[in-house]
């Protein structure tokens, strides 16, 4: 971008106007401040974030009902376990006017499979994508591919781009800024290290976008983002810290809005290799001792969802089997020989029932969570201390570090896909199987899941996994279910944080 363009952009931002966007009778462009920056139009490393702000689109979309819905596709069918059929929409165009037809989609998929490491990791090598009708693409694989809908909904895999234009640009990513390579309601007009501007795309296939444009400013400091909304320099501040909620709620003109329970949250991992949690009775007792209601409602003041299950409530495969039962916890520990002493703490054969909670400084909300866990575990006689590791993933895999229960922020069902988490964190020998968990039945479930396309059969397998984790051989459990959160001004008071980081749709508009 030239210096003149950058200066023009800075001036436009300073006056709250985007070039070509301001019209007297139109609502103003939506102004968003976010923590992450979009560093370039490189679709394989940076550009994939643009589906979040209304520039780009995917073939499918994962929604809060736990289902994948067609987005750029008109439909997705699975007539046979090894065959998926995509039905395309007619008359969809890229923002530069080129048609989004079967050729264009196949080109985008082929490029992603070549260029994107995420695509290479998730798409079976034998998968064949072929046009089988004017508006039809068929996907065939040697083995059933159950997670194709989730793969099509993952922004890091198959973003639909005008590949003719992308390939013509070579490595000159900046030339793609105004090339209209996406299909979304808002077309990028400028991208700098500080901001991205987009204006409404008049030919958008779903209808006329509700706003003249969208401005996204990249502001790493959370306090500055909130103050920007307070000072009317932005309408939406993304990723506000939970700690800011009381102050925001007490400030006139500011609102701390929360979304529905999402695909991630704080997840507990038990070290089953050594220490007190080698004893399955202690693990089960820990699960009963945790008061999930207190954590969600009292500690986090409803800013997170209560974990009533491993996955978010409302997903078809979720089994709501969490319960707090201190009597049962006590009974489990009694039966296992852990005797309560005069101080209320338990021991066995002279060994105190003591565990170490592992947290990490990048997630400050883990401090109150660990503190309340200490209190909750103490009620059943388990002593807990807390240790903080920088670089938690490496630290937990290092045998030199002593820990029993690690608390991490994870997404076990990102984009509606469950396989990746299970294969990375739970499968025996997996790269992030921190606690050395090795349950043959769970391992079999993880091995089977990728190839089970029948919905009922998948649900049965996932229910069994959740049963094992609560009742039989616990290892991993949710402590909270995260909710999207955003600070908004009065104009966007009714704005709800997008599910799966989908912040701007063609219908997003001021409330008043």
């Amino acid at each position: 971008m030239t210096a003149i363009t950058r200066r023009a952009l800075a001036l436009a931002l300073a006056f709250g106007l985007a070039p070509g966007l301001a019209a007297a009778d139109d609502p103003a462009p939506l102004r968003i401040v976010t923590s992450f920056s979009i560093d370039s139009m490189n679709p394989w490393e940076d550009g994939f974030w643009m589906q979040e702000f209304g520039q780009a689109e995917l073939l499918m979309q994962f929604r809060d009902d736990g289902l994948h819905h067609p987005w750029l596709l008109a439909g997705l069918e699975n007539p046979e376990p090894t065959r998926w059929v995509m039905e395309l929409r007619p008359d969809v165009t890229f923002q530069n006017g080129n048609p989004v037809d079967a050729d264009a989609i196949l080109a985008a998929i082929a490029a992603a499979r070549e260029m994107s490491s995420s695509a290479r990791a998730e798409v079976p090598e034998d998968a064949v994508f072929a046009q089988t009708g004017p508006l039809e693409i068929t996907v065939t694989t040697d083995q059933p591919w159950a997670e194709l809908p989730g793969v099509l909904a993952d922004e890091q895999i198959f973003l639909i781009l005008d590949m003719d234009t992308v390939e013509a640009a070579g490595d000159d990513w900046a030339s793609l800024t105004t090339a209209g390579i996406n299909t979304g309601p808002y077309q990028v007009t400028a991208l700098t290290e500080d901001a991205m501007l987009a204006e409404a795309y008049a030919g958008y296939w779903q209808g006329t976008p509700a706003l003249p444009g969208v401005e996204v400013r990249f502001v790493p400091d959370a306090n500055a983002r909130i103050l920007a909304v307070q000072n009317d320099e932005a309408d939406l501040a993304l990723y506000p810290p939970l700690a800011a909620m009381p102050a925001v709620q007490a400030t006139p003109g500011l609102h701390f809005n929360l979304g529905v329970p999402s695909t991630g949250g704080y997840v507990g991992y038990m070290n089953v290799s050594h220490g007190a949690l080698e004893d399955v009775a202690v693990r089960r007792a820990v699960l009963r001792a945790v008061d999930y209601h207190e954590i969600a409602h009292d500690v986090f003041r409803d800013a997170v969802g209560e974990a009533t299950s491993f996955y978010a409530q409302g997903f078809p495969w979720t089994l709501e089997n969490y319960r707090t039962d201190h009597d049962e916890a006590a009974r489990l520990l009694d039966d296992a020989g852990w005797i309560t002493g005069a101080d209320g703490m338990r021991s066995r054969d002279g060994q105190a029932l003591s565990i170490t909670l592992a947290i990490y400084p990048q997630q400050p909300d883990l401090v109150p969570l660990a503190t309340v866990l200490q209190a909750q575990l103490a009620t059943v006689g388990i002593t807990a201390d807390v240790v903080s590791f920088d670089g938690i993933n490496d630290a937990l895999m290092n045998p030199a570090n002593a820990w029993d229960l690690a608390l991490l922020s994870n997404s076990p069902a990102g984009w509606g896909k469950v396989q990746g988490f299970l294969a990375s964190y739970v499968a025996p020998g997996a790269r992030r199987n921190f606690g050395g968990y090795d349950n043959p039945e769970v391992a079999q479930i993880i091995a089977d899941l990728p190839h089970v396309t029948d919905a009922d059969e998948r649900i049965a397998l996932l229910h069994r996994f959740q049963e094992i984790q609560q009742e039989d051989d616990p290892y991993v459990f949710s402590l909270t279910i995260s909710k999207g959160r955003v600070v908004v001004n009065d104009r966007y008071e009714c704005y709800q944080p997008g599910f799966t980081i989908f912040h701007v749709s063609w219908q997003t508009a001021p409330c008043r």
Binding site: A10, S117, S118, Q156, D221, A224, Q230
Partner: protein, 325 residues
């Protein structure tokens, strides 16, 4: 000279001193680079996973990690990476940012003017502020201006600059409507950020200059001038200030690093588009090429600024020139 002899200062002495200081600067920059190269691998956490997390890839595959590790050269021995990096730097190539993939030097050059504006204005304000306050404080020693200055220096020394910055942002920018939170390079934001930076530094410098001025006011030359009927203001400016400036300048030079080091936090809080904010982001994700470039240039800038301070001190005090000669 008073005894009739003439001190001859060799013309090459300042050049030799400057040459030695430049050599020191290069060695200091090299030492700092080696230190950072040695220490960064000791920091916990995998830089590749941090970079991927910054790109929102929080659950990377083994292939993604391996690809980046190879691209960043992390599969090579540390000494080899350092030699390779140093060779490239000597050719003027600071490499690509791991986080953004953009050339480091271009990113640095793009942001440097904003940082120079902030640090430069902060420096001018802090020097001017501390000089003025110290003179006022000493001139009216024991009276309310002196007490006010002392109160300011104690409060400023106790309040961290980031707290002051947050208060300014909340009450001056948002509350009173001066400037913008999202600066975009706005002049009012620059002024406010520079004031915070300057006020923080000025407190210590004011205390030092005040103490030195008081010391010189009680020495012989000031007493002689007083006996000859000179006014206190004239004595302060003519007899106490010039010698008091030497330790003051030394302190300014020494704490210049603090001024430069304080800029990143303030740039982040005031969203000032400078090098500091960029480097803080790089630190958070262990973007080594950016960190190394910053360390090298900051070390050179720091030693360069110290050299400048030395030159001013030489110019101010003939005795130093004689000593150097």
């Amino acid at each position: 000279m008073a005894d009739g002899t003439v001190s001859v200062i060799p013309a090459r002495a300042p050049v030799r001193v400057a040459g030695a200081r430049i050599l020191q600067a290069v060695l200091a920059a090299l030492g700092a680079s080696v230190l950072v190269w040695l220490m960064l691998p000791l920091a916990p956490g995998d830089p590749v996973e941090m970079i991927l997390a910054a790109r929102r890839i929080t659950e990377p595959t083994a292939e993604q990690i391996a690809t980046l590790r190879e691209r960043f050269g992390l599969d090579l021995p540390l000494w080899w990476r350092f030699v390779h990096w140093l060779g490239a730097v000597l050719r003027g190539d600071f490499g690509l940012s791991w986080r953004t993939g953009q050339p480091v030097l271009a990113g640095f050059a793009q942001r440097l003017p904003a940082t120079l504006q902030l640090v430069g204005l902060g420096f001018v304000l802090s020097v001017g502020w501390s000089l003025a306050l110290a003179l006022v404080s000493v001139r009216w020693r024991g009276a309310w201006p002196d007490r006010a200055v002392l109160a300011y220096t104690r409060i400023a020394a106790a309040v961290p600059s980031f707290v002051l910055a947050l208060l300014v942002l909340q009450f001056v920018v948002v509350g009173a409507g001066f400037g913008l939170v999202l600066s975009g390079g706005a002049g009012m934001t620059l002024l406010l950020a520079a004031m915070v930076l300057g006020l923080d530094r000025a407190a210590g410098w004011t205390q030092l200059l005040r103490a030195t001025l008081l010391d010189h006011l009680s020495r012989g030359p000031a007493d002689v001038a007083r006996a000859r009927g000179a006014g206190e203001g004239r004595i302060l400016v003519t007899y106490a200030l010039p010698p008091a400036l030497l330790p003051y300048l030394t302190a300014v030079g020494v704490s210049l690093g603090g001024l430069i080091g304080g800029a990143p936090v303030l740039e982040t809080i005031f969203t000032w588009p400078g090098v500091g904010q960029w480097v803080l982001q790089a630190l958070s994700v262990r973007d080594v090429p950016v960190i190394q470039c910053f360390v090298l240039i900051a070390a050179l800038a720091y030693v360069g600024a110290s050299l400048l301070i030395d030159a001013v001190a030489l110019w101010l005090d003939p005795r130093l020139r004689e000593r150097t000669a």
